[in-house]
Symmetry: C2
Subunit: 300 residues, 2 copies
Amino acid sequence: MLALTILGNNSAIPAFDRNPTAQILQTFDTSYLIDCGEGTQMQMAKYKIRRSKITHVFISHLHGDHYFGLIGLLNSLSLLGRTQDLHIHAPAPLQNIINMQLQVVHGELSFKIYFHDLTKEGLIVDDKRVTVHCFYVQHKIECWGFLFREKKHPRKVDAEKARAYEIPASFYEKLQEGEDYTNKKGTIIPNGEVTVAAIPAKSYAYCADTKYDETIIEKIKGVDLLYHETTYLKNLEKIAGERFHSTTTQAAAIAKKSGAKRLLIGHFSSKYETLEEFHAEASEIFENTELAIQGVCYRI
Amino acid sequence: MLALTILGNNSAIPAFDRNPTAQILQTFDTSYLIDCGEGTQMQMAKYKIRRSKITHVFISHLHGDHYFGLIGLLNSLSLLGRTQDLHIHAPAPLQNIINMQLQVVHGELSFKIYFHDLTKEGLIVDDKRVTVHCFYVQHKIECWGFLFREKKHPRKVDAEKARAYEIPASFYEKLQEGEDYTNKKGTIIPNGEVTVAAIPAKSYAYCADTKYDETIIEKIKGVDLLYHETTYLKNLEKIAGERFHSTTTQAAAIAKKSGAKRLLIGHFSSKYETLEEFHAEASEIFENTELAIQGVCYRI
């Protein structure tokens, strides 16, 4: 199971109590922080996000509204005595920016940071339960999207039935993987007799700041939840293109063409006080659209 | 008239909806920003502070809770199209930290920043209505306090009376400065006959993060409002000293010994959820003590 909590849903200038971009993707035992605009650590406190669970941070690009909150978060984690390693995946210059600020105070953090520069599309994290791939998106400066895929869940063994068929516990791992069992007499016990189907592995694609770009479609095909930026309503398509951002209808078109199951839209321009029209415009093209609202947890 | 609005009153780790340090000192026609912890621009929006009025920023030291919000503020000011110069007074390394983050986006700000490195005690700003002096305080790293003094206000000319005495308008400026007028017949019109006393010029001293340090006293003698940090309650005096911070009773002692008229205490440690005890302990020694509360404007 994946669960996504929105910590910031606004574009560059914070407005109407909407913070710059940050999201937390929680899996069973770990959390991934996706972008980290100013005030992210306060938003985490507000929405009771456990900072200690974060193992990886993904920064899509180095416009300030996507990373200015990172140094403050790192500082606080250190003051709180974190010892666990932290992995930061980001465009290369971030490492110098962070290190320069740490050097000024002649202090070391209480934990070790591993910087992983984003350099080419492909697999960047291969965790126990999740893989993460990065892919290019088209923005004014180097910018990356991220695709999170749960690994296939193990089938659930019905221990009572397995015992009845005299299947040894040492074979349970293979049962979880879907294998049939052949007993001493040569009788085949079909896997389905003693296991229950796993819940399907889920996926989440984060398309950070980007203009409308159909090359994304192949990369996020069939994703369970697609986050696509919608800085503007559809009447501002020209401005959106010039600024390397997208509109509601463009985000919805990408969702439709990629066969996404659900669409989440965010990164709203500060010019909009209310968001109803964003929802109306996008869901006209792609029905299963939701607004990214701060503090809301979207289960995938 | 000076008016101080508190935007953040907490120490290093934001907690209990208390933000890291930032204050706005407003004069008649301009505003000074004193320290700029993470989230300052959001606090300004929340408390309806006009960002465009800020002409000078003063950063006491380069612990993150005193400056991590600056880059985000600069970024937003530029997105909002500011053209007016901005002066930043801070320890020297700040300039590189800011510039490095601006370079990454290959962009220039819409306005010009003048960095003024703090290098020695003394006058750093001489505005039309206010002077600002900086002075050393004792913290773990290079750290500065700031003393804001209004210039003497002009006396108020009673134009009706002045006309009755046939004083030419060209002499009004001298009347404002307190001079008597001698008419053509050689009669002296005492200044007090045609002017009203000016409201007294006020002063504000900001003693940023500091351990108890009596050398401050001479520098802030007789100030109208003294802000002194109180990270801890009095029972933690030992810890306070080790960490180059102060307690309630220490701040109150400085206020008393310097002849300050009022004391404002802040920079509360994240370990304290409520602040009543801070007030109780400090006001026992220095009666005219107030807590620095976010969003509250203290008129000086």
